[in-house]
């Protein structure tokens, strides 16, 4: 956890913290469709946005909500949508449109169990691979995670900052536990946390090329209605924004969508290490499970086992390098997740067989307890 910021102390649940984080980041547009356990984000914003010069709309479905968010973003507004599993599935095609057209926006998924309607009111972490590959086709993805209300607030701001910086949709995955747990949070003073706004064209309209390569690889998209007329499409396109069938241009377009994230992975990836320096057992956990993992690490230490916690707060791009480095120092990883090991396989990929990877999984809708993780630590230590 980052050092507690200065500001007003409140009691708040993760979902409302997400809504407050969005407002702090300057988000003034929300389109959504109700779904448990995410609805409080919409219910919070529909009260706040009209008084802040913002816009709130409940759309006819999640597909429409994702479309409206992209449309709003193209006028220059910071736009948010929030959902859970079934709705996350419905949003995927238009998330791909935002990827292809390079339109910044934030999509929050408060995870419940699946597939299908699954367990609407129970926590899970079963969408983490869908976040990576849910929309068809090759592309880079930024996906963040949060374990507490405070972190949800901060990660929502970071999601907007990353979206505006890299001109891409950014996904924030929390889970029912984080979304519905009311706890202490500090709302920082305005200005205490950096807020990033997308770049504006530095050239006059006559010289403007929307997807022209820039030094950072990130395009500068003008707001609709400001005199820069250009075309936005989900088709493969050239730097002009118009569709192309030229194999070289198609390849350049597709490579760019992965490259623009991969070349900045060091700036995007973040993880937290807790007592990891001298650890022999590294627990790998994120979201609500990281809370149990932290407790398990403390109890393992008390029992004389050198355990530590590797907690990624960026799920994608995945920190393979840091996992490899950790694998060189520990005997084993214990990857604990409320799914059947979706991220454990990324840990295995990263560890390159330099350390064993053991799993603690739970898919019955109950949280993973510290005890469960502790038992596995003892078993493999």
């Amino acid at each position: 956890m980052s050092t507690t910021p200065k500001g007003k102390v409140i009691m708040i649940a993760g979902n409302e913290a997400c809504a407050e984080g969005a407002l702090y980041a300057g988000c003034r547009f929300f389109a959504g469709y109700p779904i448990t356990p995410s609805s409080e984000i919409a219910e919070h914003l529909c009260r706040k946005l009209p008084r802040l010069g913002g816009k709130f709309i409940q759309m006819e479905d999640e597909i429409g909500a994702m479309g409206a968010v992209i449309g709003a973003s193209l006028t220059g507004m910071k736009a948010l949508t929030a959902t859970s599993g079934p709705g996350f599935s419905l949003k995927q095609e238009n998330i791909g449109h935002a990827v292809m057209a390079e339109v910044p926006c934030v999509v929050v998924d408060v995870q419940r169990g699946g597939p299908s309607t699954g367990t609407p009111t129970l926590p899970a972490q079963m969408d983490v691979q869908q976040a990576r590959w849910g929309s068809h086709g090759d592309h880079g993805v930024i996906c963040l995670s949060a374990a507490t209300a405070q972190e949800t607030f901060e990660q929502t701001i970071r999601a907007f900052n990353l979206a505006e910086t890299y001109m891409t949709p950014v996904l924030l995955l929390i889970d029912e536990i984080v979304g519905h747990t009311t706890e202490k949070m500090v709302i920082p003073e305005p200005g205490a946390i950096e807020v990033v706004n997308r770049a504006k064209p530095a050239v006059p309209p006559a010289k403007y090329v929307p997807y022209a390569p820039t030094e950072s690889g990130i395009p500068v998209l003008a707001d609709f209605g400001t005199g820069y007329r250009y075309n936005v499409t989900g088709l493969c396109h050239t730097e002009t924004g118009f569709p192309t069938n030229d194999p070289k241009r198609i390849e350049a377009n597709i490579l760019h969508l992965t490259d623009k994230i991969e070349r900045h992975r060091d700036e995007i990836m973040r993880w937290k290490a807790f007592r990891l320096d001298d650890a022999k057992i590294a627990v790998f956990a994120y979201g609500a499970v990281a809370r149990s993992a932290r407790r398990a690490v403390i109890e393992a230490r008390e029992a004389g086992i050198a355990a530590g916690l590797f907690e990624p707060t960026t799920l994608w791009p995945f920190p393979y390098e840091a996992i490899l480095e950790t694998a060189g120092r520990v005997k084993a990883f214990v990857a604990a997740e409320m799914n059947l090991g979706q991220m454990a396989r990324e840990v295995e990929l990263g560890a390159k067989c330099k350390a064993e990877v053991h799993r603690v999984n739970r898919v019955d809708g109950d949280p993973i307890t510290p005890k469960q993780i502790l038992e596995k630590i003892k078993e493999v230590a």
């Binding site: 547009f29 389109a31 009260r47 706040k48 009209p50 008084r51 010069g53 816009k55 709309i57 759309m59 006819e60 479905d61 597909i63 429409g64 909500a65 994702m66 479309g67 409206a68 968010v69 992209i70 449309g71 709003a72 973003s73 193209l74 006028t75 220059g76 507004m77 736009a79 095609e93 238009n94 449109h97 609709f224 209605g225 400001t226 005199g227 007329r229 250009y230 075309n231 936005v232 499409t233 989900g234 088709l235 118009f242 569709p243």
Partner: protein
């Protein structure tokens, strides 16, 4: 005389449309309407879905957004609601708007959001090679209805009206002067305005149904699309098989962005905490 090149993205020509397709005629009619209403190019946003008709934005020099199949009205709702100052036009096909996008279609009409929807009805899925559409008439052939379509067709103008649109019109690409007037009237209307435009697809519909050359398809429009007033005066016998055109519905009702603005004003004087 209009200099069409002032509005056309000629660098993208040749366009993708087949010879004899009606879609280019709509493009020119739309340009004339923009000019007539004095809508600045910078203030206009055209949003489309996927299909032959939905390729129109690539050829017109305004702000343009080509989206996903069926979703143009949802994207357009975001654009318009976020910046109500912009004039938002949706271009969509019969399949785009009333099959995959049917939900957005009825809800955009219900909200009566200030968007002009130009719905090109060619009775078929043109872009994908002639599959059956919700507007393909019963008995007609399509690549996925090789023995004749057994499903009834949507009345897409009626659908918009029933769902809550404030302006509904039907035109076609033969009666172009009327089409100009209808598009201009729709653009001038505040609220959800629909213009259903009958635009022939000789390649994927006409040919399969042995309807002759593109000229024959134009003649079909000439003979069978009849102004509603005129049609009303005809005998039942004469009316058979004819399609009414013109303004079919035009009423005043609250518009979505305007209602939201009123809500915002109300909250300013409302002292109660949110």
């Amino acid at each position: 005389m209009i200099d069409y090149y002032e509005y056309i993205r000629a660098q993208n020509f040749p366009h993708i449309w087949c010879a004899g397709c009606g879609d280019g005629i709509v493009l020119k009619s739309f340009i004339r309407s923009l000019k007539k209403l004095g809508i600045a190019k910078d203030d206009a946003v055209m949003v489309s879905g996927i299909g032959c008709s939905s390729r129109t934005p690539g050829y017109i020099d305004i702000n343009t957004l080509h989206t996903t199949h069926g979703r143009a009205l949802a994207f357009a709702t975001g654009v318009k609601f976020a910046n109500p100052r912009l004039k938002v036009i949706v271009v969509t096909g019969d399949g785009d708007a009333t099959a995959i996008g049917g939900n957005h279609y009825i809800h955009a009409a219900r909200r009566n959001i200030d968007i002009t929807c130009l719905l090109y009805n060619n009775y078929i899925y043109g872009m994908t090679g002639g599959q059956v559409s919700p507007t393909t008439p019963r008995g007609m052939n399509a690549s996925t209805a090789p023995f004749g379509n057994i499903e009834p067709a949507f009345n897409i103008s009626g659908l918009a009206q029933a769902a809550g649109a404030s302006f509904v019109a039907r035109g076609d690409v033969y009666h172009v002067q009327q089409l100009d007037k209808l598009i201009a009237a729709a653009l001038g209307k505040t609220g959800f305005s629909l213009v259903e435009i009958l635009s022939p697809c000789p390649t994927a519909y006409g040919r399969r149904n042995k309807m002759g050359t593109p000229v024959d398809l134009m003649n079909w429009l000439k003979d069978n699309v009849v102004a509603k007033d005129k049609l009303d005066k005809m005998t039942e016998e004469e009316q058979r098989g004819k399609v009414p055109s013109g303004v079919l519905w035009d009423v005043e009702k609250p518009e979505f962005c305007g209602e939201y603005a009123k809500l915002v004003e109300r909250l300013k004087t409302d002292k109660k905490k949110a």
